[in-house]
């Protein structure tokens, strides 16, 4: 108990982006000085503010274990999951917290993610088959190697950090974007799927993979090691090879 008290005397400053559409037309920053705890993550600090200082602070969170994808914010300008970003990595300096970049702000730290939800549907992220096998036939066989081919693209938690890190998305909002393309690739590479051609038609467009100029920051910020930049480059390669094949062997294209 003693040890805890002396720790609690130390404080840390949070500069938090506020936007309350019913009260103001422009955002502001609000500064909170709160107790510093070695084992707190940024989300703990926000919860402290909400519970004890200012109940009107608005943000999303749920699992607090880095898997639900709801707590993404800009922490000192870098997109982070606040439930796995520790105060101790910034202390004693102040921390600036903003909503994820490149998205409209609904209120305070909560962004509007309609755009992503629409893009997710657009890339058809589900198994497409010419013929569905009956369940009685048992599972589709898939070796660990086949699983390995797409597994990391299936780890996406839809946290939107990659969109916040992507300058292309910031400048060209039509860009389908890293996570949606990675998820399309996840199905393209799944041995059970037969919808690759359909999906590539959607992806091989100006708003799709060709909008990407390989900044690579999406992969750097991704908390789930999805490597969306890799997914996009691989899709580009597949699309280019497909094009070549169609040009060189037009009759091979049934």
């Amino acid at each position: 108990m003693m040890a805890e008290q002396t720790v609690a005397e130390r404080t840390i400053t949070l500069e938090v982006f506020r936007y309350r559409p019913e009260q103001e037309s422009e955002p502001t920053f609000q500064t909170y000085e709160i107790p510093y705890r070695e084992d707190w993550v940024v989300l703990d600090a926000l919860n402290y503010i909400k519970d004890s200082v200012d109940g009107s602070l608005t943000y999303r969170w749920s699992c607090r274990m880095g898997v639900c994808g709801s707590c993404g914010m800009m922490v000192n300008g870098v997109p982070k999951l606040t439930c796995s970003t520790f105060l101790k990595d910034y202390y004693p300096h102040p921390i600036r917290i903003e909503p994820l970049a490149n998205f409209p702000v609904a209120r305070d730290l909560a962004i509007v993610l309609d755009d992503f939800m629409a893009k997710l549907v657009h890339v058809r992220p589900w198994i497409i088959r010419r013929q569905e096998e009956p369940l009685e036939a048992g599972e589709y066989r898939q070796t660990p190697e086949e699983l390995d081919r797409y597994k990391h693209f299936s780890m996406c938690i839809n946290c939107m950090l990659c969109y916040a890190a992507c300058p292309i998305y910031g400048l060209e909002p039509e860009f389908v974007g890293p996570a949606a393309i990675a998820l399309a690739q996840r199905y393209n590479l799944d041995s059970r799927d037969q919808g690759g051609r359909e999906r590539m038609g959607i992806l091989s467009t100006h708003e799709g993979i060709w909008a990407c100029t390989l900044v690579g920051e999406c992969t750097t910020v991704c908390p789930a090691e999805v490597d969306p930049a890799g997914a996009i480059q691989q899709a580009k390669l597949a699309s280019a090879l497909g094009w070549l094949r169609r040009v060189l062997v037009p009759w091979g294209n049934k």
Binding site: E22, S56, S62
Partner: protein, 580 residues
């Protein structure tokens, strides 16, 4: 008047149970107009955090009967055996359906689905996707659901009340969070798939959204809550945060040791320790027993004191780095991140943590509640297949099996009973809007949501934990009643409409107080010990009086507690034997 939102089938909840209900109904009736209301985007639902796996018989060395027996003895004979049979029979097809929809189940070298051992199971039958099973299951279901254009989603809408008219449930009132509008959504049938209520306790594996909303919604509509006293403690949570270290860590061979490095479970009828790993023994015993053993060890002074209470160690070092990375990579990631320990080199500090509600909305095997038009599935419901203690990995499968069943049954009901009494429903909706605005949003009291929430949680922990007795439970009931009184004098800092998360937290607290009350009073009334409900003043199981489900009905004051016989078919009550 704004136009009414009308659907045939309305599902509250976008977790495994809700999404499975929606897809089952959509597959069966392509023209049915289906809606999913969820207070978070579906892929944020707490199913996402399930780690270990989903149980279902698939291998040739296994049999349906063995899964049934394990489930029944795991439940300490409080499960309905007819429901368990249905469940075990249908689980494999459900898991295969997920496979066909693309779930990245872990595989054997020959390409067939791999299974792992789990606590209380005599055979390996837990399907897994490394140790992010719930995550993959949820995203597969969600992405699959996107192809059904008949499913309309209300993402980030918070249901506050069921509307009941003419003796049947015909929809809900919900807040659209981004605008703050309070709207009626009417439907021919409603399914509650709102998940658990772990947040009524301070230390839980459950995420912020697990606040028992659906249980309270049904309870307020006069539907009884069943077996609420059975709250599962998982033996291995990380101290401080309560983040779960999956049972798969033990399934793969991890051991639990006390401060002397001794595998203490052998002292409590779960041994002998070797050979290890061994099914249904030692660390692969059921969760209720393992959590109770921790308390015995603590009383003997053989646990280790840490800054967040006593701990023991979960040791997986002997598995080696390769196996850890392959089978339980998330365990390694979580331990490193949240307790600064690499399980490859050091044992993980753990303690029991509130994990799962065996109880819930009283339903039959079709998911139907006693209120016509109202169905429930998943953790919010109690069918019951879990009885007094759920076996690990049965819950995800339960969400699928009974989610699909409820989806089909509710769809059939909805096709025959469209929402009819719209004017009356609208009137209820306006009432509800008035209640929320005057008694919560603009309440003129002084009490903070967080203060009351903490008070409720501490009351639950101190009197309604792993071991309980009459005095402790009575004290909890009294404290809860006082907290309920204080809730009438609330004060919110946030009085705006748009995205008011403080309002949501207040309404969730309101729901949690109901769920907590049902837990505490049901526990007080059950004067025996069974499964996860351990009364130090009544340490024996008492089949003569309590081979029965508790039904708690809401009244103005303390709930009315009633009982219902357990369905026993082929497996007469016996002693639970593990180890050996």
């Amino acid at each position: 008047m704004v136009d009414v939102l009308r659907h045939d089938l309305l599902i509250i909840g976008g977790g495994a149970a809700g999404l499975r209900a929606a897809t089952a109904a959509a597959q069966l009736h392509p023209r049915l107009n289906i809606a999913i209301v969820s207070k978070v985007y579906p892929m944020r639902s707490h199913t996402v955090s399930a780690e270990g796996g989903a149980g279902g018989v698939i291998k040739s060395n296994d049999s349906l009967d063995e899964h049934i027996q394990d489930t029944i003895s795991g439940s300490d004979w409080l499960a309905d055996q007819d429901a368990v049979e249905l469940f075990v029979r249908e689980a494999p097809a459900e898991l295969l359906q997920l496979e066909h929809w693309g779930c990245p189940w872990s595989r054997e070298p020959d390409g067939s689905v791999a299974v792992r051992p789990f606590g209380g199971m005599q055979k390996e039958r837990t399907w897994f996707a490394a140790d992010k099973t719930g995550f993959h299951l949820l995203h597969t279901l969600f992405q699959t659901s996107l192809q059904f254009s008949s499913i309309r989603r209300y993402d980030e809408w918070f249901a506050t009340r069921l509307v009941v008219e003419n003796g049947r449930c015909q929809g809900v009132v919900a807040i659209e969070l981004r605008t703050g509008q309070i709207r009626l959504i009417s439907a021919g049938a409603v399914i509650l798939a709102t998940g658990g209520a772990g947040r009524i306790f301070p230390f839980t594996t459950n995420g912020a959204i697990c606040t028992g909303d659906g249980m309270a919604l049904a309870y307020r509509a006069g539907v009884p809550l069943k077996d609420m006293e059975f709250v599962q403690y998982h033996p291995t949570g990380l101290p401080g945060t309560g983040i779960l270290i999956t049972e798969a860590a033990r399934g793969e061979g991890g051991i639990l040791v006390n401060k002397d490095g001794y595998r203490y479970l052998q002292d409590y009828g779960l041994g002998p320790p070797d050979p290890w790993p061994r099914l249904r023994a030692m660390e692969l015993g059921p969760r209720d027993k393992l959590s109770q053993c921790f308390v015995y060890e603590m009383q003997k002074g053989r646990t280790i004191q840490g800054p967040y209470g006593d701990i023991v160690y979960l040791d997986v070092r002997h598995l080696g780095e390769k196996k850890i990375n392959e089978k339980i990579p998330f365990v390694r990631e979580l331990a490193r991140k949240y307790v600064g320990i690499d399980p490859v080199h050091e044992p993980i500090p753990v303690r029991p943590v509130v994990h799962y509600m065996m109880g819930g909305v009283h339903t039959d095997a079709q998911g139907a509640t006693p209120l016509p038009g109202l169905y429930a599935a998943g953790e919010a419901a109690c069918v019951s297949i879990n009885g007094a203690n759920r076996l690990g990995s049965n819950s995800l499968s339960e969400c699928l099996v009974f989610g699909a069943r409820a989806g089909r049954a509710a769809a059939a009901f909805a096709r025959e009973h469209p929402a009819a009494d719209l004017a009356a429903l609208e009137a209820q909706s306006r009432d509800e809007e008035r209640r929320i605005t005057t008694t919560v949003l603009r309440a003129e009291g002084t009490e903070r949501v967080s203060t009351l929430r903490q008070e409720m949680q501490l009351a639950m922990e101190s009197g309604c934990g792993i071991f309980r007795d009459e005095a402790s439970l009575q004290e909890t009931c009294n404290r809860l009643a006082r907290a309920r009184g204080r809730f009438m004098r609330l004060w919110l800092d946030d009085r705006s409409r748009v995205y008011n998360t403080e309002l949501v937290a207040a309404l969730e607290l309101d729901f949690m107080l109901d769920a907590a009350e049902a837990v505490a009073y049901s526990a007080l009334a059950r004067t025996e010990s069974r499964g996860s409900h351990q009364r130090t003043d009544h340490p024996q199981r008492d089949d003569a009086r309590f081979l029965k489900h508790t039904l708690a009905y809401r009244t103005g004051g303390a709930p009315r507690v009633d009982y219902l016989d357990v369905a026993i078919t082929r497996w007469p009550p016996a002693q639970r034997v593990y180890g050996g």
